[in-house]
Subunit: 104 residues, 2 copies
């Protein structure tokens, strides 16, 4: 579908992409982590996109199996949610991923 | 107001009260913490209460200064949100509060 193609292009063209909701603390945690690490994230606030928000969330589920926010991509690769991202960070695996993504 | 009186009575009559939203991970964290500690929490899922949800959230803000969820009370005392509750837990202050509340 067109929305699927849009998402695929967005995540391959941008090193860090976060599908988020403005009221959600898990989404905030992920956004501030990237900020703290100096990684520039392209953020889509699904609750501020009118009808397109729920549509995007549904297509993201089809693409990634994940229906929740935050939904995080680095270097075109689906990372997961807040817990997954924090886990990678604590294991020292997040920053190498970020460097590799920005370097491309 | 009537809603204010209802909340005051609810939190004084019940040892642990959590105003929550079903989709919210911060709310889930707080609910599972109480479960893990064997504390029975009375939970109100504001997103499942129709028009009363937003009304309750507004009155809670008036009463506690907090407009977010989760909104936690123990022994009739306003505790705060997820972060506040976890902080008390890590400081060893939560369980004494819970014991005191159940004992009354
Ligand atoms: N373990 C996941 C939890 C994700 C989750 O449950 N997200 C909630 C918000 S915190 C959600 O998307 N709920 C459904 C919705 O908002 O549409 C993570 O760490 O990201
Ligand atoms: N630091 C607070 C954050 C609370 C917060 O921002 N809650 C969000 C959901 S995670 C909220 O209530 N957003 C507005 C809403 O859902 O009405 C806590 O630990 O509870
Ligand atoms: S909505 Fe509360 S943590 Fe996501």
């Amino acid at each position: 579908s067109r929305l699927e193609e849009t998402i695929k292009k967005t995540v391959s063209d941008n090193p860090v992409v976060v599908y988020s909701k403005t009221w959600c603390s898990y989404s905030s945690e992920v956004k501030s982590l990237f900020k703290k690490l100096g990684a520039e994230a392209l953020v889509f606030e699904l609750d501020e996109m009118g009808a397109q928000g729920p549509q995007l969330q549904k297509v993201l589920e089809r693409l990634t199996g994940q229906h929740t926010v935050p939904n995080v991509f680095i270097g075109g690769q689906h990372i997961g949610g807040c817990t997954d991202t924090l886990k990678l960070y604590r294991n020292g695996e997040l920053e190498p991923l970020l460097s590799k993504a920005k370097a491309k």
